[in-house]
Amino acid sequence: MTTTTPLGSPIELDPEGFFLRPEQWDETMAEPIARENGIGALTERHWQVINFMRHSYLTTGSAPSIRTLGKASGVPVKELYQLFPKGPAKLAAKIAGIPKPRGCI
């Protein structure tokens, strides 16, 4: 599925709205994606998780598990679920412009 940003550049998304090509993402897209997914303004703590997700994906080729996210992002599991109530790993990945995480954990 291809869609177009307000600025006119095409981006490729999967049917659920995850980026298929992370290089098509930039930081200005994060707020609108978050809003569409029921998250209000992105705080510094949201950004800490988003940046961690994106960095992990770009350096390892896969998104971190919720366990790793809770241990290594600097944001504990309880707070992750407060920041992203509908699923931290999934929503942070969507907002961070990386493909949908496929792990079971």
Binding site: P15, K78, P85, K90, G103, I105
Partner: protein, 168 residues
Amino acid sequence: MSDTLQQPELATDPSQTIQKVSIIISRGSLEGIYPGLIMANGARMEGIDANLFFTFFGLDAINRAKHEHVKVATVGNPGLHLATWAGGFPGVAAMVTHRFAGEMEKLDIPPIPEFIELIADSGAGMYACKASVDMFHLSKDDFIPQVQDIITVGEFYGLAGGGQIIFT
């Protein structure tokens, strides 16, 4: 860890998606406990409400004295393809359990105590079955602090209302 593959077809109509699950864990072996924990954690990761109800030997998963010592059942477990007499040998259950633990660590699956804490932190409810607690002469003090309450079957059905029930 995860990678990207072709996506299966997904339900997008809210009336067709699962909003809440209540998962019963009834067995006390490693392979009896993990599936329910993985289902509960996976539910929370999808934003699905989840309750865990521990009954019978499943109570070992939340028993503070026992949950670090849960073993793979090596006797009478045809899936292991191990002769029953060999499975009963001293140390075999510990050795097989150790190997499983190593494989799971590679997949970033936590040991049971850490996994329970992770699932509780994710907002899932944890409950012990009253009939089993009474039968084993246990009390709330025997359980890890994440256990919210000891409840009856009727109360469990009340909590499970409006969602799906999964028995493991």
